[in-house]
Symmetry: C2
Subunit: 150 residues, 2 copies
């Protein structure tokens, strides 16, 4: 567990992030790791949006985890700001080793620093291991997540 | 169904929006419509965030519906931008009259204009009528929504 750093992603991290997105039962069908152009364009959009934090976990110089945090101001719950965690991925070599917990705890701490009163995320209904993981961290499966592809 | 306008919210709309947020089985416990200060402060945060669209539906001069749309650029799904719909409320006088459908269709159209490939939202597990409503509009209940209060 030596030398773990969680920091903002840079352009140089994109190939490793995309490789993690693709190395996943659902991601394998959705990603195109051989063509980085759409990812680099998306990274520009992310970095120019002040509400976004795309981070990587780096251990001994290797990118081993990633997640994206979005801070959303809102009116409901007496003007509460909330955050949304998306695109959590842990490198295959690190799964089960506690890195996922460290990344989510980073996101929760960062959300507190940003004044959020609520952290939320959705997880595909088929990812039952992930559901148990989030419940162990104190998240409550209180909602149904709906998606519409355009 | 005359004279319906869907437009960006202004400060003058905040009392009517807060009244709708509070006139709800879950919102009744969470909102404080007698003290608008936290909502006005939150509205400032929303309007200064380029990723947010807080809209109202106005019929014959009355504010009868609201929702908030957040546009989120991301890396996953080949650099897909997605949108999230939050805080959908329809005035009690208008429920069942098709306004919810019009508001969600506005959000879907706006998401397309913003280049989104996915629209998502979460709905409290107890809101079973809302779940049927979103499924009729083509949304798929594919995910579990987790929340952690800070």
């Amino acid at each position: 567990m030596s030398n773990l750093e969680i920091r903002g992603a840079t352009t140089e991290d994109i190939p490793a992030i995309v490789a993690m997105l693709a190395d996943d039962p659902l991601g394998a069908r959705r990603e195109s790791p051989d063509d980085l152009a759409p990812y680099l364009a998306a990274f520009e959009r992310i970095t120019s949006d002040g509400g976004q934090r795309l981070v990587v976990a780096v251990r001994d110089g290797r990118t081993v985890g990633t997640l994206q945090l979005t801070v959303i101001p809102g009116l409901s719950r007496q003007g509460a700001t909330r955050s949304i965690i998306e695109a959590v991925r842990i490198h295959a070599d690190e799964r089960g080793g506690g890195l996922g917990t460290q990344l989510i705890e980073w996101a929760v701490d960062e959300s507190r620093r940003e004044g959020c009163v609520l952290v939320q995320l959705t997880s595909d209904a088929t990812r039952t291991d992930a559901h148990r993981f989030y419940e162990r961290l104190g998240f409550e499966a209180s909602h149904v997540g709906f998606k519409l592809a355009l």
